[in-house]
Structure formats: C-alpha cells, structure tokens
C-alpha cells in the first residue's frame, strides 16, 4: 500500500498545471471561479486549445485522438483541470456519444463525427429522458418508424441540457413497440436543424436556462444515422451510462469549491470577526472536507483497481458509492458557499449570465451562490436518482 503519487505522476501533474497556467484565458477562469453559468464561446474556445494540444479526448483510444494516458494520469488530469478551474469538456460529446460511436458505430460514423466532437465543431445534446420516463428510462415513448431510407420520429424529450446550442442530438427511440420495454429501443443520431424539431426552454429554480424540452414532429432521419443495430439501443445506453466512473464523484470540483468557501469565509465578517473563525461554521466545513477526503480515496481506489485490470473487468464495488456520496458533497458545498454570503445571497437577477453587465447588487462573488445551491439540487436526481442508485447497490452489491 502506498498512497503517494509516483515521481512520474507528480511530474505529469506539474506539466498539466503549467499548461493550464499558460493557456487558459484568465477571463474564462474567473467566470468559473465566480460560479457563473457556462458560456458557450468559452467552452468552444477552450476545447480548441485542448484539441490543438492533443488533450481534448484523453480517455479515447489513441486511434481516435486519445492520449494513451493510464487511468491514474487521466484522473490526475481531470482533477487538475477541475481544481484550477478550467472548463469541463462537453460531456454529451466527449464522454457519452463519442465512446458509443467508436465502440458501436460504423466507420463512416466514426470518420464523420469523432474529429468534430474532439474539436467541438458539433455541439451534442442527449435525448434520453421523456416527460413520462425519468428514473424509469426504459419506459420511453418517442417513436421512430422506418420509411424507406429514413426513420420518421415523433415524440418529446425533456431535461435536454444545453439543447439551445446543440447541432446534434443522440436519442433513444422506440422502434419496436411490441417488444419488451428494453428490447424495442434504438440509438439514433439526429441533426438539430432537421425540420420538425422544436426546442423550448425550461427555466429551473435557480433561474437558469440549462435544460429544455425538445419536440419531434414527423422528423425525417436518414437510416444511416442509426448506431449499431436496430432495437439494441438499450445496450448502448447502458454502456454509455456505465462508462463513467472517473468523473462521477466530481472530486476536483468539490475541492475547488471548498477552497473558495475557505477564501471567501475569511473575507466575510460575522460577529466582528471573519466567518472562518466561527467554530460552528468551520466545523461544518471540516465535516465536509472529511467526507470529501474519504471519497477522494474511494475514487482513487477505483482508479487504481481499473488501472490494474485494464478497465475491462467488473468495477470495484466501491465505485457504486461515488455517485451518491459525490452528489451529497456537491450539494453540501454549494449550500455552505451560499451560507458564506449571508444576506447577499438574496439579490436575484434573472438576466445574470446572459449578458448582464450592470454592477452587482452585493459583493461580486455573491451573485451565483444561491443559484449554485438551487441548481445543484439536480445532482442527486439526474443520471439515476440517489434512491435508484441505492436500489442498484442493494441488488448488485449487497445481493438483496
């Protein structure tokens, strides 16, 4: 047992840090530190800088642009970018549809889409959830009917994150309504410019416009946009959802937020002294830090085990807790950050993040604290709610 990074890993980490310092534009970094909403141009700009460096899709196989880093280096890279903080890659392309395409797609699809994902030429969004299919995803109803060289798609997707920017959407659609519910589903790639697609924003409780409803009315999709085999889409979806165990806990993001809390709590006053000197407050922070440290090591146990068995075998049982505990910590840190702001958590500007240029109503770091808290309630809901995660662990890990 040795929990230290090797000298090579430390050198690698320092290299990542140096690259971030030298290449990430400061105004992008500042928006992230302040917790502002993601700005599309920031992400596109940063993705192209990364792609130029060859770091846009580190975990992909080398033939499609991956770096060939082992799981530990991938983890170090991820954590350093999150702590810095740098924009996180658009998961829908890089972590979701990309791996599905290089694993199950045909050569034409690989050639067409993969380089454009890496360079963020195409903005992807995810068409899984439907109004009647949340945690019970397989009950989805959007229909795709084969008509010659095309599918005709009708239905509705919802909670579609950043669909307002999207060039493409990958969708689960029902192609065989008579099959058992998991067995009649296919995985379709759909150009968002196709006639019959309408995107309507859903404003969430933080005031943000992150998610949307997407309506499909007689949308004509070329049959060549089917990934893999018809009616096998559920398998690809399971692959996509199970693929991600390195980032699900978001350790680096929580670490960055903890550092931010400590920094701002030293500026904010409470009872005539800095808030960070208040025993009750700093015990709350320390309490979160303990959980975070433990989860970091749990995460590293999973990464080290993956490295050892080449990321092909059954995941370490500990990996199943990453989502639950990681989301709890994200929610605890966003709540505590809001608490730091005290009364200046209150002011609300709906226009914030969409070109608002007026001076802030309170300290310039306070504006996004409450929205950040409200927004992060989502993390225990999406990707299979924490209650669903517990059902899965009870069955798959505990054998109940």
């Amino acid at each position: 047992m040795d929990l230290r990074f090797t000298d090579d890993e430390i050198a690698f980490r320092d290299g990542v840090r140096a690259f971030l310092r030298e290449n990430l534009p400061e105004e992008i970094r500042k928006r992230l530190v302040d917790g502002e909403y993601m700005v599309k141009d920031d992400l596109v700009r940063w993705s192209r800088i990364l792609n130029e460096k060859g770091w846009a899709v580190p975990h992909w196989p080398a033939e499609y642009g991956g770096t060939g880093w082992d799981p530990m280096r991938q983890y170090i890279y991820l954590e350093e970018t999150q702590k810095f903080p740098a924009p996180q890659p658009l998961a829908f392309g890089v972590n979701m549809v990309g791996p599905v395409i290089y694993t199950f797609g045909n050569d034409e699809q690989k050639k067409t889409f993969l380089p454009r994902i890496a360079n963020l030429d195409d903005w992807w969004c995810q068409g899984f959830s439907e109004p009647g299919a949340g945690s019970d995803l397989a009950s989805l109803k959007t229909r795709a009917v084969r008509d010659g060289d095309h599918y005709i798609v009708n239905g509705q997707k919802t909670w579609t994150t950043l669909a307002q920017y999207a060039d493409w959407i990958f969708c689960l659609v029902r192609t065989d309504p008579d099959a058992k519910k998991q067995e009649g589903i296919s995985f379709l790639l759909i150009d968002m410019k196709t006639p019959g697609i309408e995107v309507r924003p859903i404003v969430t409780i933080d005031g943000g416009r992150e998610v949307n409803e997407v309506f499909f009315t007689d949308v004509k999709v070329p049959a060549e946009n089917l990934v893999g085999q018809e009616n096998k889409g559920w398998d690809y979806a399971k692959f996509l959802l199970g693929n991600e165990r390195t980032n699900i806990a978001r350790i680096g993001i929580s670490k960055q937020r903890v550092a931010r809390i400590r920094e701002l709590a030293a500026k904010e006053m409470s009872g005539g002294r800095p808030l960070i000197e208040d025993e009750r407050f700093r015990e709350k922070l320390a309490s979160i830090e303990i959980e975070l440290k433990a989860l970091e090591l749990t995460q590293l146990r999973v990464v080290a085990a993956d490295a050892k068995r080449g990321n092909t075998g059954k995941p370490d049982p500990a990996s199943s807790i990453l989502k639950i505990k990681g989301s709890e910590i994200q929610q605890a840190t966003t709540h505590l950050l809001m608490e730091v702001m005290g009364p200046y958590a209150l002011p609300y500007r709906a226009e914030n993040g969409e070109g608002w240029n007026e001076p802030p109503d309170g300290p310039d770091y306070a504006a996004f604290a409450a929205p950040g808290y409200f927004n992060n309630r989502k993390v225990s809901i999406y990707g299979g709610s924490n209650e669903i995660q517990k059902n899965i662990i009870a069955k798959a890990v505990l054998g109940l």
Binding site: M1, D2, L3, R4, F5, T6, E9, M72, K255, V258, A259, R262, E279, R282, E283, L285, A286, S287, E289, I290, E291, L292, K293, A294, L295, E296, L297, T298, L300, R301, A304, A305, K308, P317, A318, I321, I324, K325, E387, K390, N391, I393, A394, V397, L398, G399, L400
Partner: protein, 385 residues
C-alpha cells in the same frame, strides 16, 4: 499509488484470519470473556507465536519491522473477531512508547519480552477531569535524588488490571493543561504505592482505576525527554487512533455482513426483509459509511508515522471523526434492521455495536476530533512546512 497488500502482508492477514476463524468464533469469545482475566491466555500465546507481538518493532530491536499497514491488518482482523486480548494496550500503545520513546537500553531490555508475549503493558494517562484533553495531566512527578516520586490517579486504563508495567504520564512542571512539563514513566504494576481496581467495560474488555501514592521510580523509568512527554504521547496516540480506526473497520464490516445476511433469511409478511426498500436503503447507507471509513482509515494509516506532526494529526482527527459517526450509523442501523434479536446479549451484533460505541469514546469522540480538525485549519488547507 497502490492500495493492495504486499505478498507478505497478504500472508499475515490470511494466517491471522485463519487462526481467528478456527479459534475465535462468537461462542469462543464468550468463553474467553469468562476467564478470570477476561481474555484468553491461550490465544495470547498463539498471537505471540504468529509474531504479532514482535510485528511493529524494528528488526535490530528484536522485532519484525512492520509498520502502520501491518498494524492496520492485525487490528482489522482482531476487530472482526471482537478479540478481547490486550493487544492494543500492549503492542500498539505500550509498543508505541517503546518504539518512539525508548532508549537503546530500554528497548534492548523490554522489546524481546513484549515480542515473546511475556510482558503486558498499558497506558495509564486518562484522568478524572481531563475528558478528551490529551495534555490535561494533574498527576505529579517530583524529582527525588536520581529518580522521581509519582502521585495522582488515573482513570479507565484499558487493560490496566492485567498489565505487568504501566506507562504513566505525570507532570514535572506547569499547570495541569500545559503542553510542556509532562514526563512519561514506565512503572511496575507491583510498585509500592500503586494500587489498581480492575473492572469490565461495556464492550467486554477490561480496564482499571489506578492510584499512585508516593510511587518511587528510577531515572531509567523516564521515556523520551523530560518535560517533552506530550510530543511522545501525541505521536503514540495518533498511531493508536489509526489502529483503532482499523479495528473499527473490522467491527463495522462484521456488523454490515451480519445484517445483510440476516436480511436474506429473516422473513416477515412472507418475504425476506431484504426485499423491503426501506431496509435496503438503510443497508446501503451502512455500506457507504463502511467504504468511506475504509478510505479514511487508509489515509490515516499512511500518515500515522509521518514526521510532520501537524499533517499526521489532521489525518488522524479526520479518521476518528469519520469512524465515530460512520460507526454509529452502521451500529444503530444494524440493531434496527435485526429488530428484537439485535437487542439480545446472546446475539453477536449487539456486542459489535457496544465495541464500536466504546471506540468512539476512546482518545476523543467524533465531535472532539471534528473540532480539533476545524481548529487546525481543515484537511485541504496547505500550510507552509
């Protein structure tokens, strides 16, 4: 980064687990507890023959040269068996003082005796008014020729009733809560003026109240530097807390395993109770707490012999706090899910719960260590070395 055990460590774990599976079932434990001293002399000899007593000492001192990871392995296994023997008092605490504070002469004299299981030790430190303040020492040490005279009283000394020698803290100078001015003395249990009253504790182990009435010791009884005893005490106690965390892992994983097994066989309303979602979620909460405890114990174990006392202390605070609250969550849910049978003395799960509860009280509970960690600046603040 490597979370696996070496081949030697795996062999150590396997052979100890085999021994315990063979000779330390729950019924065996009940039998051992009924012995006059409250534990099994036969098991103590088995442990010595396996080399467990020699494990943490340097090879040149007559030991095997194990470190915190080896201690973690042993303590986790002993925790899973709910072992009653004075291993923690003798080898972890007493051995800690020998390793970290002993002069070459003291080591040469004492390590071989501990290693062969012939010498039992205990740490007589806790006092009536100290609660969890480690530096609170009212017991006095007065210079007397070359040696010292000790006066005072020590509370709830784990396995203090059976120890052959006691590491006693006593104040040479300063006020009762000063960090400096404390000495650590090794005192014969049979010394004139030393009296002890042994009793069982809630977890089936033993402890003693000890009074020191003009107990004379020689200059060679002093461990570490006079007046700098707290530096030594903190180093030993930090390692001991890492070891208790490892014991807790054994206790928690046993409770979790018993509970999940029970959920598969106990039927109510025609179904195994494991089919009920409300109970499944409790069992998962226990699993999450157990894995988090395992991770933070590894962290504390790796930091336990760090030369950086500040970093070491922060890691140990984190582990003790996490173990305290996680252990309580696992223990209370284990009893709840078992229902009535969990309340009975004749079933094992309650005994694990009692041990877990007493571990939280030892060397500062979860709240104490959370406060200490918060006061030290938390876990992630990088301090200049």
């Amino acid at each position: 980064m490597d979370f696996d055990l070496t081949e030697e460590q795996s062999i150590l774990k396997d052979s100890l687990d085999r021994l315990l599976a063979d000779k330390y079932g729950f019924e065996d434990r009940n039998r051992y507890a009924k012995a006059a001293e409250g534990w099994s002399g036969e098991m103590w000899q088995h442990f010595a023959e396996m080399g467990l007593m020699a494990l943490p000492f340097a090879e040149e001192d007559g030991g095997i040269g194990g470190g915190p990871v080896e201690t973690m392995i042993v303590m986790e296994s002993l925790g899973k068996a709910l072992a009653l023997e004075p291993y923690f008092a003798t080898v972890v605490l007493g051995g800690g003082f020998l390793r970290l504070g002993g002069s070459p002469a003291q080591k040469a004299d004492l390590v071989p005796q501990v290693a062969e299981g012939a010498l039992k030790l205990a740490f007589a430190h806790q006092e009536r008014n100290a609660r969890f303040d480690l530096a609170h020492v009212e017991t006095s040490a007065t210079k007397d020729g070359d040696g010292y005279v000790l006066n005072g009283a020590k509370s709830v000394v784990t396995h203090g009733d059976c120890a052959d020698k006691l590491f006693v803290t006593a104040r040479l100078s300063g006020d009762s809560r000063d960090e400096t001015g404390v000495g650590v003395f090794l005192v014969d249990a049979g010394a004139d003026g030393l009296t002890r009253r042994g009793y069982p504790t809630q977890d089936g182990l033993r402890a003693a109240e000890i009074t020191l009435d003009n107990v004379k010791v020689g200059a060679d009884a002093l461990f570490g530097k006079p007046g700098k005893g707290m530096t030594l005490v903190r180093a030993v106690v930090d390692q001991a807390i890492a070891a208790l965390s490892a014991e807790s892992l054994g206790v928690m994983s046993a409770m979790h395993e018993l509970t999940v097994d029970y959920m598969k066989v106990r039927k109510q309303f025609g179904l195994p109770i494991g089919a009920f979602q409300a109970l499944q979620h409790k069992a998962v909460d226990m699993f999450v707490a157990l894995e988090q405890a395992r991770s933070i114990t590894m962290f504390a174990t790796m930091m336990a012999d760090s030369a950086n006392a500040d970093e070491r202390a922060r890691a140990v605070h984190a582990a003790k706090a996490e173990i305290g609250r996680g252990g309580r969550l696992v223990g209370e849910n284990a009893i709840q899910i078992h229902g009535g049978v969990g309340m009975t003395m004749e079933y094992a799960v309650g005994h694990y719960f009692k041990r877990m509860t007493m571990i939280d009280v030892a060397f500062g509970n979860a709240d104490h260590h959370l406060r200490a960690l918060a006061g030290a600046g938390g876990l992630f603040e990088e301090k200049a070395a």
